[in-house]
């Protein structure tokens, strides 16, 4: 994987397979602490303790067509290579939360990449899931919940290109504004 956004796409696909109806993807950049946090939280079928223990092993998968599942081990390896870790919390019948932490400034840390393309790909691929995207830069937060858009759309499908463009722009602008406001605040603080 060349971008962390691709890892997020991949991890979220697991949540879809787990039958989740609501999936929250969260990205948090904390520059003061030099940390980057990624989280995927779902309300899918969850995993037993045994499965959680095994899920970090690259030779475990729920897929039956082939015997290798690499998504979570790949992200774990990427996080650990950047002074971080990966944590899996899960409860049967309740859902699963995957957390990955990176040292923000680590030289081997992949760029976040194209987060809007990841979100649009997920929205289009599984429109019946309620998708929430949270982006935090220092203390500034942007939240995107597709429920409000779907409600407003009514019968118009998400795959309408004007809709895709609008949703994509909403995410791009949200991230950009969040960063700008946080950076301005930081600059003001630094001047004092």
């Amino acid at each position: 994987m060349r971008e962390l956004s691709l890892h997020l796409l991949d991890i979220a696909e697991n949540s879809i397979s787990a039958g989740a109806s609501r999936i929250v993807i969260s990205v948090r950049e904390d520059l003061a602490a030099d940390e980057l946090w990624l989280e995927v939280t779902d309300n899918g079928k969850g995993m037993s303790e045994e499965m959680v223990a095994n899920v970090l092993d690259p030779f475990v998968t729920t897929r039956t067509t082939r015997k290798v599942g690499l998504g979570i081990p790949l992200l774990k390896q990427a996080a650990e290579a950047c002074g971080g870790f990966l944590k899996v919390e899960s409860e049967l019948g309740k859902g699963t939360k995957i957390t990955a932490k990176f040292q923000h400034s680590h030289i081997d840390r992949m760029p976040l990449g194209n987060l809007e393309d990841t979100m649009i790909t997920l929205l289009l691929g599984t429109p019946n899931v309620n998708w929430v995207f949270k982006y935090q830069y220092n203390d500034q937060i942007f939240e995107f919940d597709d429920a409000e858009f779907k409600e407003a759309l009514g019968d118009l499908p998400l795959s309408d290109f004007r809709v895709i463009e609008f949703l994509s722009n909403t995410i791009v602008d949200g991230i950009k504004n969040t960063k700008n406001i946080a950076t301005e605040k930081g600059a003001v603080y630094a001047n004092h």
């Binding site: 994987m1 691709l6 796409l9 991949d10 696909e13 397979s17 897929r63 067509t65 082939r66 599942g69 690499l70 998504g71 790949l74 194209n114 393309d117 990841t118 790909t121 289009l124 691929g125 599984t126 795959s159 290109f161 895709i164």
Partner: protein, 122 residues
């Protein structure tokens, strides 16, 4: 479906009606399937999907259904794209870059000619 007893039943009924409608809508349409498993994503499937989406929009192709699926199961050939023209057999393409995807759309989906150079055995 048995007697409706709750709002949930009503919703289920609506969903079933919707599924029937979707099935009906899909006959006579071209289906394009992109494999979005771990390997597919790592190999660039997201960008390939985006190129196909952009082509559909650019040429205003209304009778095309674009679907995403997990691993299609042809090792070492990702990103994998499958094209199913109405009444025709599934054609599988391997290592599809965004540029190749555009060419497949142009030649196969629009003109109906399989792009033999990109075809793989599924």
């Amino acid at each position: 479906m048995p007697t409706i007893k709750s709002i949930e039943d009503l919703k289920r009924l609506r969903e079933e009606a919707q599924k029937v409608k979707e099935l009906r809508d899909q006959t006579g349409k071209t289906q394009i399937v992109v494999g979005m498993g771990t390997v597919g994503i790592a190999a660039g499937a997201r960008d390939t999907l985006k190129a196909i989406l952009a082509y559909i929009e650019d040429k205003h192709l209304p009778d095309v259904i674009l679907r995403q699926t997990g691993n299609i199961g042809v090792g070492g050939q990702d990103p994998v794209v499958q094209v199913i023209l109405p009444g025709a057999e599934t054609v599988t393409y391997g290592k599809v870059t965004p540029a190749m995807a555009t060419q497949i759309m142009e030649e196969h989906v629009v003109k109906g000619n399989v792009v033999q150079d990109f075809r793989i055995e599924a």
